[in-house]
Subunit: 533 residues, 2 copies
Amino acid sequence: MIIPKPVRFEPRPDRFVLDRHTSLTADPAFGEVAAWSRGELGPVTRGELLPGPGPGITLSVREMRPEAYRLSIDAEGVLVEAGDTAGAFYGVQTLRQLLPAEAFRKATASRELALPAVRIEDRPRFGWRGCLLDVARHFMPKADLLRFIDLMAMHKLNVLHLHLTDDQGWRLEIRRYPRLTEVGAWRTESQIGWNGVMDGRPHGGYYTQDDIREIVAYAALRQIMVVPEIDLPGHAQAAIAAYPELGNLGTPLQVATTWGICENVLNVEDSTIRFFQNVLDEVIDLFPSPYISIGGDECRKDQWRASPAAQRRIAELGLRDEDELQSWVIRRFAGHLSSRGRRLVGWDEILEGGLPAGAVVASWRDDHGAVIAARAGHDVITCPNMSVYLDYRQAPGEEEPTPFGTVLTLDDVYAFDPLPAALAGDQAARHILGSQCCLWTELIDSTRHLDYMAFPRLAAFAETVWSPPEKDLAGFRHRLAAHLPRLTALGVEYRPDEGPLPWQRRPGVPGRPEDTTEWRATISEWTRNIRRP
Amino acid sequence: MIIPKPVRFEPRPDRFVLDRHTSLTADPAFGEVAAWSRGELGPVTRGELLPGPGPGITLSVREMRPEAYRLSIDAEGVLVEAGDTAGAFYGVQTLRQLLPAEAFRKATASRELALPAVRIEDRPRFGWRGCLLDVARHFMPKADLLRFIDLMAMHKLNVLHLHLTDDQGWRLEIRRYPRLTEVGAWRTESQIGWNGVMDGRPHGGYYTQDDIREIVAYAALRQIMVVPEIDLPGHAQAAIAAYPELGNLGTPLQVATTWGICENVLNVEDSTIRFFQNVLDEVIDLFPSPYISIGGDECRKDQWRASPAAQRRIAELGLRDEDELQSWVIRRFAGHLSSRGRRLVGWDEILEGGLPAGAVVASWRDDHGAVIAARAGHDVITCPNMSVYLDYRQAPGEEEPTPFGTVLTLDDVYAFDPLPAALAGDQAARHILGSQCCLWTELIDSTRHLDYMAFPRLAAFAETVWSPPEKDLAGFRHRLAAHLPRLTALGVEYRPDEGPLPWQRRPGVPGRPEDTTEWRATISEWTRNIRRP
């Protein structure tokens, strides 16, 4: 409930000293208050009353649900009550939104701040409020990634699913296998758009293990869990380029320079399984997340069909087909992760051929996989491509830069419900952990372009995972009008409602637009392979 | 003097609590201590003893030279004594360097920090320790610019010369003339390298006035003055594209898409002078710097020679030639700035045709202009292209990405003396305010590439303007070996000593390399026009 009567606070040096809180506006994460709430307060125990970082702002932890908070502002000051550090952090994020948009700048000359008197009780609908970022197709420099984490945090998202490896690049230092980055972290050139034209320019980069520790710690201070993804057994050409013995062909491969579903996949030798188990062991050391994704999506089976070794393996194991062979591979990794106390996350393709116990399904092809998996008792993250793939075009027409996928407008994203309709009133609904939007970067080759694709749709997505299911588009549009100046203050180059700015266009560069009806039919066809576990 | 005996401080919660100083390693600008020293301490009065932000670190302002500091670390704690806030800030930057490189990360799991026992007395040799950044040829998003300011600050540079306008783009919102950014802030495509091949991709962007206020305030907190440059009467094609009445041709022009010295220059009508005086009035409101640059470089006179209006103006004013016409234009702006309490800065071309009183010369063509101007009593900033133009190639050979200019190695930059040899022992030497390195961005189209060109040479430059003139290359190399891990921790993609990483190369894209001897001769020829004021 918001009491609309604004109260203007006069600077009172020994009391409610917003005038002294220059850091309120001097730090991207809300200065002292945020520093306090992002973990520097040390462990918080329930019921403990903690003094705020300055007079007038009090943060208090008491018996409340995780991530919930209560924010009260009146003439006496600001009180944030929360059930845990995360809740306090979100309360502070809301407090920040009540300041003028200018407060989102990293420095400002102005020191006059006014806060409305409010009382807000708030808590998230879902515990998994994620965003997948594909740093494999186009590498994102660390500074930009940390900035993106800041942007996620202000939108109260709490899971960064980091897609670290793919056919076009391997972005994570693995000490045991240095060639993964020496060879796999760069490619000679990249396809521009979807017409086969190449840019002739090398592209590369990777995160060192020290970088990852920094990224994970930085995200954790902002209540964000980083879930790494090492994609296998498909989407692994960069690894095969580095270590050809991982592939099926025995011939050297290059790191892929074009987009699409690649035919080169890992072989199913024990040595290859061990290689990736060793990789995952380093991943486990770096990422404290209880969830580790091994991808498992879009694995073409052609090379396994043609490979005597793979066929022998199928026969040895008494498997029915290549789908079950993939399932066998996934199970090997699920077991390995489980033995180290982690849970496997995979795309809904891992349902094909049978799902390992305890695996979490990221359901991207409509909600077919989500419903089947949840009903079978598996935890699920919903991320249906036509609802939350933020690399999909934001409007019909030629003006969108390299238009890709189906049309996914801001309103479409806002309309999305993380809970599949088929599970309404179903006990299985409790297995829907939440949802994540996805930013695949085949056609997103810079942070500026990423800004354009991600915003403002990410704000709409943030509402769908946080707020109650009832929709109010007019209300959202109203809130967004107040939110865009915050993004502007932060230098986020979001898509204007009226379409791209002249320099956000890519004239003459075709994307790969899809028609919604046809694409839905294609997905239906694809997901027939999903078997009830 | 550095006492080499290291003292390990054990965490003592109520005493020298480095263990509690998580913010020491959680903030790019050194957390609480930096927050304190970057202006949030309020006005500092001499002689006042200020408590540090935490037990064990004390900052004290006393009678010392501006920007000087004394840093003492012993078993009792850390003491930074300084003559002013800037000195305290630099003391803290040095303190930061004494921490492990990991302290330069934005977050870290480690909380154990050890400091060596030292006593350092330090002060800069020059007061103008600058870097020119060309955001006109390639726009730099605000977040990247703020990051660059952080990098300058840690190198104790204190002037950011921001080249905001050029033929290829106008990057500053001017409220009175919105077309300067509507039209001038983007171009349809850009030349790749120097072979006439175009990239076919729009490029653009600009800073709003709110952005500028933020940038200026952010820099000021880090003891950096932002000196804006509005380049005229040459390098102004983007402005002419927006307002054709500013040009000589009466025909529409596009924002330039290729590099080089453009023939389109401003006309010399009173209305054009007034237009730019109005522009400068908004610039003056935005930038508190006492110095405002109007460029004045590389103005081709062909259109003035061909223009009846320009020739009439020369006759009316009784001028000798087009050089004097340019000088007349510059004087008009010098007078305008002076009437508003600001000093004009211009490139050494402003010496051609006579220098206005009080103007500061940025001497880029060897040191011809510097010596003449200083002897005539004008303040000078030295920035000879073959010594400090960091867009020039870092090594001979084809491997450097789009190799441009003469070879300027790291050692060459370190060898540079901001004081021209001809002024040694000369009273005029006092007019050398200092020096600035320059990052022109015709061929630098991303922040990643800027990192490559700027670092580690900027570290060498920082030593030349801060430290005494005596050179010690081996010592510098030794210090650099300790410094590179700091840059790595900050995610700076500097040029490795052994040459570019594979993805830092631009195979097949020619630059425009110059031969040092020939180029020196060319510059000698050019600078013959410089007249003794």
